[in-house]
C-alpha cells in the first residue's frame, strides 16, 4: 500500500466551497423575497382599506369613493374562461401529438421550432397579430372572444412545451410496459402516460394562465375599453335554452387595464384603488396556483 495523502484538507475545502455557495444563494434568495414581500405588503397596505363589498359591485367612476371593479373582475373571469377552454385542450393536445405521435420529419421540425420560439415573442406582437387577424380579419371585433383567443395563443407555447417535457420525463419503461401489455398508442397515452404526467402538465397550465391573467399590452392593443359602465350579457338566461353565448361578443375590460387606467390618473385616491385591484388580481392568481397545488398533491399521493 502507498501512503495515501491526508484527505482531510480536501474534504475541508469541499465543505467550505459548499458553505460559500449555500450562503450566497441564501442571501440572493432572501433579498429577492424581501423585495417581493415589500411590494406585496405595500400593495395590501394601500389597497386594503378599499376592499369592501362596494368595490366589487361598483362600476368605475370619476369619483374615487364610488369607483369599483365590477366590469373588470367579471371581464377577467370571462376572458380567462375562454383562455382556459381554448388553450388547455389545444396546448395539451398539441404537446401529446408532438411528443407521442409525430414522426421526425421536416414539417414537424418546423412546427417544433416555431412553437419554441413563439414562447419568446413579446406579448404586444400577439396583440398586433390579433388586431389584424381576429378584430379586423375575421371580424370578431373588440370582444371577450378576441381577448380570449389572443391570450390563449400567447400561452399556448407554454402549455405545449410543459406537456412535452412532462411526457418526455416519464421513464421509457412505463411506455414499454404499456405497449407490451397490448395497449395501442391512444390507450398508452390516456391510461398511463397522461395520469403520470399530470403534475407537470398542470404546472405548465397554471404558469400559462397566470401569465395570461396579468397581460395588459395585447389586450389594450386589441381594444379593450379603459372605461366601461356595463356588464356583458349574462351566460345564463331566463328563457330556453337558458344558456347564452352573447357575452363572447361583448366589449370588456380586465383588471390589469383597470389598474393601468387608475394609475395614470393624477389623484392619489385612484392610485390606492389600483393597489386594491392589484390585490384582487394577486388573489385570483394565487387561487389558481393553490388549486393546482391541491390537484398535484392528490395526484402525487398515489405515486407514493
Amino acid at each position: 500500500m502507498h501512503p495515501s495523502p491526508d484527505p482531510l484538507p480536501r474534504i475541508r475545502a469541499a465543505r467550505r466551497r459548499d458553505l460559500l455557495f449555500a450562503t450566497a444563494a441564501l442571501v440572493v434568495l432572501f433579498i429577492a423575497s424581501l423585495v417581493l414581500f415589500g411590494l406585496i405588503l405595500d400593495l395590501v397596505v394601500r389597497g386594503a382599506p378599499h376592499l369592501d363589498a362596494d368595490f366589487f359591485t361598483n362600476y368605475p367612476s370619476r369619483r374615487p369613493s364610488r369607483a369599483g371593479i365590477l366590469p373588470a373582475w367579471v371581464g377577467t373571469t370571462l376572458v380567462m374562461l375562454v383562455v382556459a377552454v381554448l388553450a388547455i385542450p389545444l396546448g395539451v393536445g398539441a404537446g401529446i401529438y408532438l411528443e407521442e405521435y409525430a414522426r421526425r420529419n421536416w414539417l414537424n421540425d418546423v412546427i417544433e421550432i416555431n412553437i419554441t420560439n413563439l414562447a419568446g415573442v413579446p406579448s404586444i406582437i400577439y396583440g398586433l397579430l390579433a388586431l389584424g387577424l381576429f378584430v379586423h380579419g375575421v371580424g370578431l371585433g373588440e370582444s371577450i372572444l378576441t381577448a380570449g383567443l389572443t391570450l390563449a395563443l400567447l400561452i399556448l407555447p407554454i402549455i405545449v412545451v410543459a406537456t412535452r417535457e412532462a411526457l418526455r420525463a416519464l421513464p421509457r419503461e412505463m411506455r414499454e410496459g404499456a405497449f407490451a401489455l397490448g395497449a395501442d398508442r391512444w390507450q398508452t397515452v390516456a391510461l398511463f402516460l397522461l395520469p403520470a404526467a399530470r403534475p407537470g402538465i398542470l404546472t405548465g397550465i397554471i404558469v400559462g394562465l397566470s401569465r395570461a391573467i396579468g397581460e395588459t399590452a395585447p389586450v389594450i392593443t386589441i381594444g379593450a375599453l379603459t372605461f366601461i359602465a356595463f356588464l356583458p350579457p349574462p351566460p345564463i338566461t331566463a328563457e330556453f335554452p337558458w344558456i347564452s353565448f352573447d357575452w363572447l361578443w361583448s366589449p370588456f375590460t380586465v383588471l390589469p387595464i383597470q389598474m393601468f387606467n387608475w394609475t395614470s390618473r393624477p389623484q392619489p385616491a385612484f392610485h390606492e384603488l389600483a393597489a386594491a385591484a392589484g390585490v384582487v388580481l394577486l388573489v385570483m392568481t394565487l387561487a389558481m396556483n393553490a388549486l393546482a397545488i391541491y390537484v398535484r398533491y392528490r395526484a402525487r399521493r398515489l405515486l407514493g
Binding site: 419503461e173 411506455r175 414499454e176 410496459g177 397490448g182 395520469p195 407514493g304
Partner: protein
C-alpha cells in the same frame, strides 16, 4: 415481506430435476424463429438466428452481457418498433396459425396482445396494485367489475403475491418491495392470459430470496404457459429451463435441451462459457 422470510429456509436450488421429463424435444412448437437478423440503425445486433420455442416449456437464453439476448427477446413482441430506424429480417412464426410476428404486414399489436413480457427492472405503473394487474384487461376493453376482481385475484395468486397484498389492493404499487413489484409485474403480464411469457432477467434486480420465489413461480407457470427467460445466471438457467440457447456476439452458438447444453455441449465456446472461462 413475511412470506419472503419464510422462503429463506427453502433452498434456492430445486430438488427435483426439471430435465427428468421424457422427450421434451418432441413437445409441440409454439414459435419458430427462422433466420432472424436484427439491426439497430446500421448496427447489426442479431445474426441469422434459427431456433424453436417449445410449447409449455421454459426456454432459457444465456450468454455474456451485450450478446443480444434482450434484443432477441424484444423481437417477439415487436418492442423494437417503438424506436425509429430498427430493422428486422427473417421470420418468427407464431403457432398454431403460423403468423409471422415480425412481418411488416403483421400489426405489432397482434403479438403484443398474445405475448406477455416482464422487464429486467420492475416497472409497475404509478397506480394501485389492483389497477396494475387489471391494466391488461382494461386495455382489452374488460369493464365488468366481477370479471376484473376475479382475474386480478387469480393472477396475483399465480404470481404468489396474493397473500401479501390482498388487504391493500388499492395501495400504490410503489409501496411494494422490489421482489414484490417484480411479482406484481408478472401478475400484470399473466392477467390477460397470454400464450407466451417473455422474461428479461426478471431476477437481476432482486435479492436471493425474491429470486428463489420467482424461480419457483416460473417452474409452476410452465404448466400453462410457454416461457422464454433471459438470464445471465447459468445456475438459474439450469434450474428452471428445459431448453437453452447460448448466444454470443449476436449469434446463436448452440441450442438444445438444457441437460445436454450443461453436460455435453457440442461447441467449445459453450463449454467455455458455462465453465466460467469467459463472460
Amino acid at each position: 415481506m413475511k412470506a419472503d422470510a419464510a422462503l429463506a429456509t427453502t433452498p434456492a436450488v430445486r430438488r427435483d430435476s426439471p430435465h427428468a421429463e421424457p422427450a421434451a424435444a418432441t413437445r409441440p412448437v409454439k414459435a419458430r424463429v427462422e433466420r432472424l437478423s436484427f439491426w439497430y440503425g446500421s448496427k447489426q445486433a442479431l445474426f441469422d438466428i434459427t431456433m424453436p420455442i417449445h410449447e409449455r416449456c421454459v426456454t432459457a437464453l444465456i450468454g455474456p452481457s451485450g450478446c443480444g439476448k434482450s434484443t432477441f427477446l424484444r423481437c417477439f413482441n415487436r418492442m423494437h418498433d417503438l424506436y425509429p430506424n430498427n430493422r428486422y429480417a427473417g421470420h418468427i412464426w407464431l403457432e398454431p396459425e403460423g403468423i409471422d410476428i415480425i412481418s411488416p404486414k403483421t400489426d405489432p399489436m397482434v403479438p403484443r396482445l398474445r405475448i406477455g413480457m416482464v422487464f429486467q427492472k420492475p416497472n409497475p405503473f404509478p397506480k394501485s396494485i389492483y389497477e396494475n394487474v387489471a391494466a391488461g384487461l382494461r386495455i382489452r376493453g374488460v369493464r365488468n367489475r366481477a370479471i376484473l376482481d376475479e382475474q386480478v385475484e387469480k393472477s396475483l395468486r399465480r404470481a404468489a403475491l396474493w397473500d401479501e397484498v390482498k388487504d391493500r389492493l388499492h395501495a400504490s404499487a410503489f409501496d411494494l418491495s422490489g421482489g414484490q413489484q417484480q411479482r406484481l409485474c408478472i401478475a400484470r403480464a399473466l392477467a390477460p392470459e397470454p400464450e407466451v411469457l417473455l422474461l428479461d432477467e426478471p431476477t437481476s434486480a432482486l435479492d436471493p430470496i425474491a429470486t428463489a420465489h420467482i424461480e419457483e413461480l416460473v417452474d409452476e407457470l410452465r404448466e400453462s404457459y410457454t416461457i422464454v427467460i433471459v438470464t445471465h445466471n447459468m445456475q438459474q438457467a439450469a434450474r428452471v429451463s428445459q431448453f437453452t440457447g447460448f448466444f454470443h456476439l449476436g449469434k446463436l452458438i448452440e441450442f438444445g435441451e438444457t441437460e445436454q447444453i450443461f453436460t455435453t455441449p457440442r461447441e467449445s465456446m459453450t463449454q467455455d462459457y458455462i465453465t466460467g472461462r469467459f463472460g
